[in-house]
């Protein structure tokens, strides 16, 4: 096993990797940009080095600096986390060339799966069902119009090198196509340094369902069940769960077998995720493969009891997986809420600020993964996700109730967050019934309802008492307060737990 690794990322995922590494007796090196010098991911590491100024291109994407520091400090492997360099084939190749283990698949696999068009071709060859669409990048925006006419509107425009909703556009009317392709190209270029985009038929009201894969270099490929990730705003996941309440036993068997087949087809090693779209009749289509740890990996960990980071490290060190498909047991239900710095009442715009209070929920079945501390500054340079709250219970109903209890217990001040929004999502009838598509949030715009008297009185009292003390009546925090609430007598989310 490695004695020291470098973690080429920032925020909660670095802490996640440090924790398991420390438990395994592996020392950790953190990297950071100048603006992150006092961040928990730096302070909690065994060693830390500054890469450069705040912009990612000058720090977290500086492959050269990262490799140089890894060698200087004697790290034997690099964990890329998610985002940044995690799906960068050149980086993976450079690691291997310089004698450092890349904790991920081979550069060739990243290249294949990283190009959505090549991934589609590979999957078609392996017999994995895919969504109809272009098999290669669009030559020009006009080509989009021709393809769309062939496969029928609506269509999705996607970045070939993309992920996480960046460079992605849904187009329902032909006249919007060209403008959307242009915007997606620009966004793709800015995010991934590659502006290639392609078109796919849009599956109406699809479920976004993904299968967790674990594969070693000795030919073992396992699945750890599926996750339902259909709760999305701005094409980004916000609430995920495992198992999916929509998938039945028969579909599950076929889905997971297909995922194993897909991973086998590319000679995969490492933890990985095969994403599928599933329509209302439970037909599923390959969407993409994420050749890295997912943000939402923790729900799978809670259900299976398997530490995915530990397995990643073992696989990267060349060990044989000490697991077998038959011995992987699935227990109960887990739900993750991504805690983001954003103003949900103002269309989910990212928020910035300084954390003044952070008191995570505790008690049975509650797991927190955060990079939060009082005093931490949340800036505009990076992803707005600050923390993950993952709740487990023996039943799905219990896991929902526990998540809602934990969200309400959670205290986080100084930056506008989405805790109330997540609580509202978990109370939506479709969510409670366990049959919701990626359209869920589009069909249910988030807003405030009428408050009851008691809660309104408590809020009013807060103001009155602060006025009486001569304190500033206008509270801190940079919540814009925009939304229906501002012009209404009194509102609250009336949703009994």
């Amino acid at each position: 096993m490695f004695s020291k690794i470098l973690i080429a990322n920032r925020g909660e995922i670095v802490l996640r990797v440090i924790r398991t590494a420390r438990e395994m007796g592996i020392r950790t090196v953190a990297v950071y940009s100048e603006i992150d010098r006092d961040s928990p991911h730096v302070l909690e590491a065994d060693e830390a080095v500054c890469l450069g100024p705040a912009p990612s291109s000058q720090s977290y994407l500086r492959a050269d600096r990262i490799l140089e520091e890894a060698k200087r400090l004697g790290a034997e492997a690099i964990h890329p986390g998610y985002g940044f360099l995690s799906e960068n084939a050149d980086f993976a190749r450079a690691c291997e060339q310089q004698g450092l283990a890349f904790i991920g698949p081979t550069a060739e696999v990243i290249e294949t799966m990283g190009s959505k068009t090549r991934a589609r071709q590979t999957m078609i060859a392996a017999g994995v069902p895919v969504v109809p669409g272009t098999e290669s990048a669009l030559a020009d925006p006009q080509e989009a119009v021709e393809v769309a006419r062939k496969i029928g509107l609506p269509v999705m425009i996607k970045a070939a090198a993309g992920g996480g909703g960046k460079g992605m556009r849904l187009v329902e009317r032909e006249e919007e196509l060209v403008k959307a392709v242009e915007a997606a190209t620009r966004e793709a270029k800015a995010s991934f340094g590659n502006g290639d985009v392609y078109i796919e038929k849009f599956v109406a009201r699809p479920h976004h369902i993904e299968v967790q894969i674990l594969a070693d270099t000795h030919g073992t490929v396992l699945h750890l069940g599926e996750r339902e990730c259909s709760v999305q705003r701005r094409h980004q996941k916000v609430v995920e769960e495992s198992p999916s309440p929509f998938v039945d036993e028969k579909t599950r068997a076929a889905l997971c077998e297909t995922a194993v087949q897909a991973a086998r087809a590319v000679g995969y090693r490492n933890a990985g995720t095969i994403e599928f779209l599933m329509d209302k009749d439970r037909n599923f289509y390959f969407l993409e493969m994420n050749t890295r740890l997912q943000v939402e990996h923790a729900v799978t960990e809670m259900v299976t009891g398997i530490d995915l980071v530990e397995q990643q490290l073992r696989v990267a060190a060349g060990e044989k997986l000490q697991l077998s498909q038959e011995r992987i047991e699935f227990r109960g239900h887990a739900i993750e809420c991504r805690v983001c710095a954003e103003d949900c009442l103002a269309g989910f715009v990212p928020a910035t600020g300084r954390v003044t209070a952070y008191q995570p929920p505790e008690g049975p079945g509650v797991r927190m993964d955060s990079g939060l501390r009082p005093g931490l500054s949340i800036g505009m340079h990076y992803d707005p996700m600050m923390a993950k709250l993952i709740c487990w219970h023996g039943t799905r109903e219990g896991a929902i109730a526990r998540s809602r209890r934990a969200l309400r217990e959670f205290r986080l001040r100084g930056v506008t967050h989405n805790l109330d929004f997540c609580d509202w999502v978990l109370a939506l009838p479709e969510f409670v019934q366990g049959d919701y598509s990626t359209k869920l949030l589009g069909e249910h715009p988030y807003s405030l309802d009428h408050a009851d008297g008691e809660q309104a009185r408590a809020a009013a009292l807060w103001r009155i008492l602060h006025e009486a003390e001569g304190e500033v009546a206008t509270p801190p925090g940079n919540g814009s307060g925009k939304g229906k609430g501002e012009h209404s007598p009194w509102y609250w989310k009336h949703r009994s737990l």
Partner: protein, 168 residues
């Protein structure tokens, strides 16, 4: 004794508070409740009769009570009287468009003097690697366009004004 109005015309409720510092009595439409404010670690909790409430300020008029967002409009007696005389009251939807988050202007979709409909796209701004379209809060004519593509701006930066058509 201080008197307050909670809510708006037709739906208001009267509140009155007497007390000192963090303790007192609140009179409301359902009777009177003794009140105690309790602070632990910078957080204020309220005991209203026997009920406990955890109140966190979130924004102007916006509070998180027991983990749920509550929006209220509270006026002191004096403010309410001014309002009754037509001196207060709710503001018009403003014509000034400000940047709702820190970010970089990717492109400007309108020109000075251009007529726009409510909800029409004005600018595309990148924040945290996502493109966001800033939309017109009301119909009107674009004035005082203050930004161009490439500008990196702080939250609240003035972008442009939309003058209502009737006044132009």
């Amino acid at each position: 004794m201080k008197r307050y109005t909670l809510g708006e015309e037709g739906k208001t409720r009267e509140l009155a508070f007497r007390g000192r510092g963090w303790e007192g009595v609140l009179s409301h439409e359902k009777g009177e409740s003794p009140v105690e404010g309790r602070r632990l670690g910078g957080e204020l909790s309220l005991k209203l009769g026997d009920r406990m409430h955890r109140v966190e300020p979130v924004g102007e008029g916006l509070y998180r009570v027991d983990g749920q967002l509550v929006s209220i409009r509270l006026r002191s007696d004096l403010e309410a009287r001014f309002e009754a005389l037509g001196l207060g009251g709710r503001a018009e939807v403003g014509g000034k468009v400000e940047l709702p988050m820190p970010g970089k202007v990717i492109s400007v979709l309108v020109e000075e003097g251009q007529q726009v409909a409510e909800g029409e796209g004005l600018l595309i701004v990148e924040a945290m690697k996502m493109e966001n379209e800033i939309k017109a809060p009301r119909a009107g004519v674009v004035r005082r366009l203050a930004v161009k593509a490439g500008d990196e701006l702080e939250k609240g930066a003035p972008l442009l004004d939309i003058e209502a058509e009737e006044t132009s």
